[in-house]
């Protein structure tokens, strides 16, 4: 009797990966089909790209579209703008969120939970609505069409998740380490700058990269607050390629690949932290 009940579930529990494999395959086609098509189009000569029905497998491969990008001075400016704005956003985000996360992680004071909720909720206020006043505000201070306006507004939207990512990191640093330094006579400032920050360098880098990616991807703030010469790549590409009467699709696909490259690279580096940060950022209030 006992042998029977033990034996039966053994058989039942045998992994049946067929259904799982089929699901992965079908979803995989959906997930990577568009990426494949983007790459193929970017490598297809213009004559071949505009034919119907399209060829799923390119007969000839060309790099002319990437060369076209290099020849376009406007795109170069957008690229430089994107690099500057995203880097500054990353630096400011790490600075501000490190202090905030340290406070949330190691200090207990009244209103702490409300502050945490406020910062978490702030990323849920619609950007389009904030922009109405933000535009007037930056305009009044002469900050429209400046890097500063973009960096400041990007940072508020990178902060919530970055604060949570760093808080998770700081939570793992033993209090004793910081207490010991205090007992040795270190002031509050040097506890942060000499001990906390150096110890959590990997977390700071991950947070910075994440902020960089968010800044790099932003569309609506840059579209509205930056003029043509401070425009970043996402709105810049929309204006350059979709504003025209006829879109140069292969060129646009090549540009899309170039824009995605730093983000994908950064993602590969910080994947481990990112996933953990995402989960804890969403779950912890």
């Amino acid at each position: 009797m006992t042998t029977l009940t033990v034996a039966a579930p053994r058989k039942r529990r045998k992994p049946r990966p067929w259904l799982a494999m089929a699901a992965v395959l079908v979803i995989g086609v959906f997930a990577f089909g568009p990426v494949y098509w983007l790459i193929v189009t970017a490598l297809t000569p213009s004559g071949d790209a505009f034919r119907f029905p399209p060829r799923l497998w390119p007969r000839t491969v060309t790099l002319e579209h990437f060369a076209n990008l290099a020849d376009n001075p406007v795109l170069g400016r957008y690229l430089v703008n994107s690099l500057i704005v995203s880097s500054l956003t990353a630096v400011l985000t790490v600075l501000v969120s490190a202090y905030t996360a340290y406070s949330f992680s190691k200090f207990r004071y009244r209103g702490r939970r409300s502050l945490m909720s406020l910062i978490l909720a702030s990323q849920m206020f619609p950007q389009a609505l904030l922009l109405i006043t933000l535009y007037l505000l930056f305009s009044a201070f002469g900050l429209l069409n400046s890097y500063l306006a973009l960096v400041l507004s990007f940072t508020t939207f990178t902060l919530p998740l970055c604060v949570w990512m760093l808080k998770g990191f700081f939570d793992t640093i033993p209090d004793e380490l910081l207490e010991a330094a205090k007992v040795d006579g270190a002031g509050q400032g040097s506890v942060i700058h000499r001990i906390l920050l150096p110890v959590s360098l990997p977390g700071l880098v991950a947070t910075g990269l994440f902020a960089f990616i968010r800044g790099w991807n932003d569309f609506i703030f840059a579209l509205t607050l930056a003029g043509p010469d401070k425009q970043t790549l996402p709105p810049g590409l929309v204006n350059t390629y979709l504003g025209e009467f006829q879109a140069a699709w292969p060129d646009l696909m090549a540009a899309s690949l170039v824009v995605s490259l730093p983000v994908v690279g950064g993602f590969v580096i910080l994947q481990r932290y990112l996933v953990a940060g995402l989960v804890s950022g969403a779950v912890k209030g």
Partner: protein, 310 residues
């Protein structure tokens, strides 16, 4: 149970320097948040309040000055803009949450089995989610292209349609096309979140239930789902909140067209303020939008707090 309790005087001596610092510790801890608080007040809170008060004024982006008009903007907005925009936003939100949720859940379940290379697959599948929203839009614009698009090409060759369809140019298909693109962009995130939840389901529970003869479906229904309830609630609510205010892809794919068929709140507010220059109306529309959104956000914060306590 404390085995050795230290004499009271010793404990006092040990604590006294700490207690002296205790108050300043609290103040210092709060001061650390000041940069963030200032930034939020300037970039989020003040603009939020400002935009809401704008709704009571007749104000243009191009003409300086403003005049108080009371609830006139709200009356106008409710008369001719609000309801179709609400309908579009709801359709977009419901389907752009449900479709990627089903897909993401299916993939999470699949990757939670003993599939070879599932750790790598989990990372690889996150790929569409990382790509910048504007690039995602470009890729799908090209796939949906009426003349040379991949979708039309495949469907014509399979004999499913006779002639190419203008997916984004037709009011009946434009919203569906946007939802497909949005589903592509967001199912990976849902997959990651649910997979993280699935990995916390104790295997012993499943084994015990299997011993009692429960099949895969029953175990899914009675063990997996109840266990994931918290994380599912959070994922769905966050997706609903994000989709309710989504802008990028809708704006790039259709710009709210054709004939307003895909104009959601985000697009309508943006267009009214920055194309129509009518800040008062944009503010009124935005206030109504925010009111609906706030219900969702409060629900989310409650849920997140309860989840953390568990």
């Amino acid at each position: 149970m404390t085995l050795i309790s230290s004499p009271p005087e010793v404990r006092d001596v040990a604590k006294s320097p700490r207690q002296g610092r205790h108050l300043s510790d609290k103040t210092f801890g709060f001061l650390l948040t000041l940069p963030a608080v200032v930034l939020f007040s300037a970039i989020v809170l003040y603009p939020l309040i400002g935009s809401l008060t704008t709704s009571l004024f007749q104000q243009s982006l191009v003409i300086p000055g403003r005049s108080f008009v009371g609830l006139d903007n709200f009356r106008q907005v409710l008369d001719d803009q609000f309801w179709p925009v609400l309908r579009n936003t709801l359709v977009f939100t419901v389907f752009s949450t449900a479709c990627p949720f089903i897909l993401g859940f299916a993939l999470a379940l699949a990757l939670n089995t003993r599939l070879p290379g599932r750790a790598v697959l989990r990372g690889v599948f996150l790929f569409p989610w990382v790509i910048p929203g504007v690039v995602v839009s470009f890729a799908w614009l090209w796939i949906f292209n009426a003349n040379y698009g991949l979708l039309n090409g495949v469907l014509v060759q399979l004999g499913l349609i006779d002639a190419p369809v203008s997916w984004l140019g037709d009011p009946t298909t434009a919203m569906a096309a946007i939802i497909v693109a949005k589903t592509w962009a967001s199912f990976p995130w849902i997959m990651v979140m649910l997979l993280a939840g699935l990995q916390t389901v104790p295997a012993t529970l499943h084994e015990a239930a299997a011993m009692d003869g429960a099949g895969t479906l029953r175990r899914f229904w009675h063990i997996t789902l109840p266990h994931l309830r918290g994380i599912i609630g959070i994922v769905v609510l966050l997706e609903v909140i994000w989709n309710f205010q989504h802008f990028d892809m809708i704006y790039v794919l259709t710009g709210g067209g054709p004939a307003g068929a895909t104009t959601t709140f985000a697009v309508a507010v943006y267009e009214t303020a920055f194309k129509g220059f009518d800040l008062g109306r944009a503010g009124a529309l935005g206030a109504l939008w925010l009111l609906l959104l706030l219900v969702l956000v409060v629900g989310y914060v409650r849920l997140a707090e309860r989840e953390e306590k568990r």
